[in-house]
Symmetry: C2
Subunit: 341 residues, 2 copies
């Protein structure tokens, strides 16, 4: 089936030089005569030689590969940005001549096995962890190994590690403050599931902004959504059925915000007038529907993650081992001055 493999040995036999010399000629050592090198290069070219990467990896004890395990459930999971994150990671990686080994494994008992497989099977030189959770066991595990890794997101595990995260708290604080400046006092919040770290930071930004401006933080105005359309819809319905209805609603991601927007419209509210709505992510359709939101530079974060990890693998020290990026507030028409009540 496979065309017969052309190896160093093939070239060695073909040219009469030893495998050592062929190897050294091909990898550019300077103890090979110019003429010899040319002969060998010509032969390699003619025979169609391409180094066997697996053999090289075994010998060099280096894979030039990093791992990423997507913590994802079945179809229709809510990660509008995994593609973009992967694009950032992958593009940057190829600048370093490295590749990405990707697995998909839903959180659960098999998840750590997937990590062990990559780490202890020595398949990767480093790992990227995404979507951090409370007491994140993946990070705890990796800390017990000596493998370099970087994390997208923070976790409350008591030990420090290298990470990049968006500053969800600062972002939502700014957004909430902006809504308050528009006159809003009753602001609803549709949160992400509380076991996800980012959910807490975003909620905290909201809470702090309220308090700092003398507004009570009232759990009645907080709904724990599931990041999907359904969550936004249920959240909006619940919040809008309160006796004292909110005049603005923040959602922890754009999909829920868009869905809340649509629900509110259905009961006759005009968005940006009767009710202000804002989200988080800036997914492409948000632009279309003029949703005020916070933009995370996901692609850029992917690039940064790769660069950090690459430095760690090269045994360089990071000058910034923990990076917090402030999301950018994008003001559009879904938010406006409080008019009602």
């Amino acid at each position: 089936m496979m065309s017969p493999q052309v190896t160093l040995k093939t070239i060695s036999k073909y040219t009469g030089f030893s495998v050592t010399t062929v190897s050294r000629a091909l990898t550019g050592y300077n103890d090979v005569a110019k003429e010899t090198r040319e002969i060998i290069l010509a032969a390699a070219n003619k025979l169609g030689y391409y180094p066997n990467l697996t053999a090289r990896q075994l010998q060099k004890q280096r894979n030039d590969t990093i791992g990423l395990i997507l913590p994802t459930y079945g179809p229709r999971f809510n990660d509008p940005y995994f593609s973009e994150l992967i694009a950032g990671i992958g593009n940057q990686l190829s600048n370093f001549g490295m590749s990405l080994l990707l697995s998909v494994q839903a959180p659960g008992p098999d998840e750590i096995s997937a990590y062990r497989h990559m780490v202890e099977g020595k398949r990767v030189d480093g790992l990227i962890v995404v979507r951090t959770r409370n007491e994140d066991e993946r990070i705890k595990y990796l800390l017990t190994t000596s493998l370099p890794f970087v994390v997208f997101g923070r976790s409350n595990i008591g030990t420090s590690f290298n990470f990049i995260d968006e500053d969800g708290e600062a972002g939502v604080y700014e957004l909430t403050e902006y809504l308050i400046s528009l006159g809003h006092k009753r602001i609803g919040f549709i949160s992400a599931p509380f076991n996800l770290m980012f959910a807490n930071y975003r909620l905290e930004g909201y809470r702090k902004a309220l308090i700092d401006h003398g507004i009570d933080f009232n759990l009645q105005y907080v709904y724990e959504g599931d990041l999907t359309r359904k969550g936004g819809e249920l959240g909006a319905k619940k919040l809008l059925s309160l006796a004292e209805k909110p005049t603005a609603i923040l959602a922890s991601n754009d999909l829920m915000a868009l869905s809340a927007m649509s629900s509110a419209q259905e009961i006759g509210l005009t968005i940006g007038k009767d009710l202000s709505i804002a989200g988080f992510d800036d997914i492409p359709p948000s632009d279309v529907f003029s949703l005020t939101t916070l933009r995370q530079p996901i692609y850029h974060i992917g690039c940064l993650l790769s660069s950090m990890l690459y430095k760690l693998i090269q045994n360089e020290t990071l000058d910034e081992p923990q990076v917090l990026l402030k999301p950018q507030l994008i003001i559009r028409n879904s938010t406006g001055e409080r008019l009602v009540d």
Copy 2:
């Protein structure tokens, strides 16, 4: 840095049995005494042995890995479904104990190099090609190798190959016919870039449905969009500025449809009444905005691609080497009977 590697040799020294016996005990050969096996297993356990996958790969000439190269440009590329596709591919793959090596490489001169790297560097047992183009050179290249591969999408290269594709033509045909049945006669079409294969199939479904129902196919009503918000907006503007305005607009993807929807609303049109709009993909926000569309089972397609490729790698023959899946028409409120004109 790295904790000292525990290899078969370590266990061999520790237990006094040869490396051969240790290997055979660990991989379950039946020519090892039960007692011996137990001693070896206990030692492996105690020492924390995990087989070095790279070494195994080299020896077995098998990587248990397949490759996928994402043909993607910088940030904000328009592939709402790459995450979902990858989730499908990856989940299915892990059922087979295989992993996914992923690269990101924009179409262009370096793209084939990325393929050569995986193929000729013997890093993968098979490949998946996505987002097919006219005269797709990636497929042409892979056909010159003996490596198994499957393609998501078709291409006009004159040689047959294994693929799965959604039947865009049949889907759009059905959708167009549906619009015609609602009384629409002037139907605009916002297409994807013509160099992408799927663009042509979708356009063709539209064209055929018109012709079959005695409606002229008029290029004036076709706009070549870029799959982004901008494309939908420009398409809608152009089509709605025609002397004889369309009463319905089809877009080649949901993002352009949603954007067209928003543009039309801005100039005072009521969607589903004054103007019907439909898309293709069924991305999550489409549900929110009640967009009529065609749903592709992307996750399922990912699973199928993995299964097909796995069979090929096992040297089994495919009973269905070329699969065409009909997308499902999802009728929502963005389409309705022709009222105007």
